[in-house]
């Protein structure tokens, strides 16, 4: 949001101050109930029996293994998705070809497909009953109910995040700078590292942050492919559900609080990026 736009609009908007205040009040109230209150509740419930109980519940064996697993999954899937995102954004914005709109639609697919459907697709493809999966299990490389399946499911649901942040920024920046660098004799990779990457780094960072938050928090797709094996394939969100179903409220909410903190840090960084690098992120909202 550029400040110029704000100033320009203030002159054009002529609602009465009363109407303005009423609209702002409704917006704030709605967000308070729908978004802010749930955030506060997570921490309130986690600390219902004091700090000691909350911290102790995080030291639980299941909780620790869940945290370790979730970090592993994010560590594998986020760099892969980022690499793909850069390649896809380069391909879409630097070249002209037919079917570009179709390709963008395909990239958007995971936004609208249910995560349960995504998980099921992977089970059908790589489960023990399928051709590929049966062979892989026989060779000792199970995908479903094991780490590779969870990573694959995470990659499915986080698929568009990085590419979607980069594409508008790279369209806005055009191709002229890269073409100039080429004319001056730079190699393809050098153009990428010294011209393109510095231009897109903040958008890339934001895409990676969102992708990471989603990767660590994915529930539906992981619930389907992981088999929810305690201590082995139960990620943090899955373990939250297990604790909750066992009436371990403090443990469930403590683990949820850790993920909430992650989400808050993600958005804090995003806001800081927007303030400091507003010009380069201006295209983020397409």
């Amino acid at each position: 949001m550029s400040d110029i736009a704000q100033v320009r609009f203030r002159s054009a908007t002529e609602e009465t101050p009363l109407a303005r205040r009423a609209l702002i009040a409704v917006a704030v109230l709605g967000l308070g109930i729908l978004v802010a209150a749930p955030l506060i509740v997570v921490f309130a419930e986690a600390l219902a029996q004091g700090w000691a109980a909350a911290v102790a519940s995080l030291g639980n064996r299941d909780a620790l293994s869940a945290i370790r697993l979730t970090l592993t999954i994010a560590g594998i899937s986020v760099p892969l998705t980022a690499g793909f995102g850069i390649a896809a954004a380069w391909f879409i914005t630097k070249f002209d070809f037919r079917g570009k709109a179709f390709l963008i639609t395909l990239i958007d697919l995971p936004f609208s497909v249910s995560p349960v459907v995504a998980g099921l697709c992977i089970v059908l493809m790589f489960g023990t009953n399928s051709l590929v999966g049966g062979w892989l299990v026989a060779s000792g490389y199970p995908i479903v109910f094991a780490l590779p399946g969870i990573v694959l499911a995470t990659m499915f649901v986080t698929f568009p995040f990085v590419a979607r942040e980069l594409i508008p920024v790279m369209i806005e920046q055009g191709r002229a700078e890269e073409e100039a660098a080429l004319t001056l004799g730079a190699s393809g990779w050098r153009v990428f590292w010294t011209v393109t990457l510095p231009n897109i780094r903040w958008a890339l960072l934001y895409g990676v942050l969102l992708c990471n938050a989603r990767a660590m928090g994915e529930f539906g797709a992981v619930a389907v492919v992981s088999g929810k094996i305690r201590g082995q394939t139960a990620t943090m969100p899955i373990t939250i559900e297990m604790f909750y179903n066992e009436y371990l409220s403090v443990a469930a909410f403590s683990l949820a609080a850790v993920l909430t903190l992650l989400a808050l840090v993600t958005l804090l960084l995003k806001t800081a990026l927007e303030i400091r690098h507003a010009d380069q992120l201006a295209a983020l909202h397409p």
Binding site: M1, L31, I33, L152, M236, K270
Partner: protein
């Protein structure tokens, strides 16, 4: 890399065509296309008669009804509230505006399971808001309203974030012209502003609706998951899979997939319309 693009090199100045094409297609194929194809093949294997029997079984029909009804409620709410929110964020200056804007992204960054857990705690009979609603005879948790609430939470940013940039880019000249010609504020909104943001607003609502139909994590906590009453379609597919009924799970999942594809297509058409609108 460049050699492969040589025959039409005049058109492609920048390098990396083959590399980026290859990476994109490989990743897309392995992660998205092959798994989706597996589901479609499974659907074909079931055969039309059995497929129809599965998706028209009373429990499945009830699940689809619950899902669609709740998604419609959530989308209507988001359509109104999301538009209002975008309007407030773009047009007004007030303290705390940046915080409000940042909070709007929480549903994107907060895990759905956490959202479901905390909404349930908040709206249950002894929760902060539930304790106040329950005596008035309004129960949210374990009803369709709870499902709609969870859907509204996860999909509201889609409406706000599609309308917001369009609203920012509006040319104030049209409004000023309308005002000069004596139009009232209401007329200016309905005749000048609204038609300009309509395509983006509809596109945002379509994506929000698609998201609501597929939502799972937030809903399983708050819904109570009673078959025939508060069981959503995605959960039914999940239950069928846990029972090792692959046909049952796949048939329901295929219906959800078709919904998602159709809505994605509609949203894309609307976005294209919005772009054309912008060009005029």
């Amino acid at each position: 890399m460049i050699a492969a693009a040589a025959p039409i090199r005049a058109k492609r100045v920048l390098p990396g065509f083959t590399l980026s094409l290859g990476t994109t297609l490989l990743y897309l194929t392995v992660v998205i296309l092959i798994p989706v194809l597996a589901l479609i093949l499974k659907g074909a294997e079931i055969g039309p008669a059995r497929f129809w029997a599965i998706v028209t079984a009373p429990r499945a029909v009830a699940a689809f009804q619950v899902t669609i009804t709740a998604a419609v409620i959530a989308t209507v709410f988001n359509a109104v509230y999301g538009l209002l929110m975008a309007w407030v964020l773009v047009r007004y200056e007030f303290p705390g505006k940046r915080l409000l804007d940042a909070l709007m992204d929480i549903p994107f960054a907060l895990p759905t399971a956490v959202a479901g857990l905390s909404l349930t705690a908040l709206f249950s009979a002894n929760g902060w808001i539930g304790a106040w609603l329950e005596p008035q005879g309004i129960s949210v948790v374990y009803t369709i309203w709870g499902i709609a609430l969870a859907m509204a939470f996860t999909s509201v940013p889609f409406v706000v974030r599609t309308v917001q940039p369009v609203l920012e880019d509006l040319d104030p000249a049209y409004e000023q012209a309308a005002r000069t010609l004596g139009a009232s504020e209401v007329t200016i909104f309905t005749r000048v502003i609204f038609p300009q943001i309509l395509p983006a607003w509809l596109a945002g609502c379509t994506i929000a609706f698609a998201r609501s139909l597929g939502e799972f994590g937030a809903i399983v906590f708050i819904a109570g998951n009673l078959p025939m009453k508060t069981e959503i379609a995605a959960l039914l597919a999940f239950i069928r899979l846990e029972e090792f009924d692959y046909n049952g799970a796949s048939a329901i999942a295929l219906v959800l997939l078709v919904f998602a594809l159709v809505l994605l297509f509609v949203s894309n058409r609307l976005q294209a319309w919005a772009m054309r609108h912008k060009g005029v």
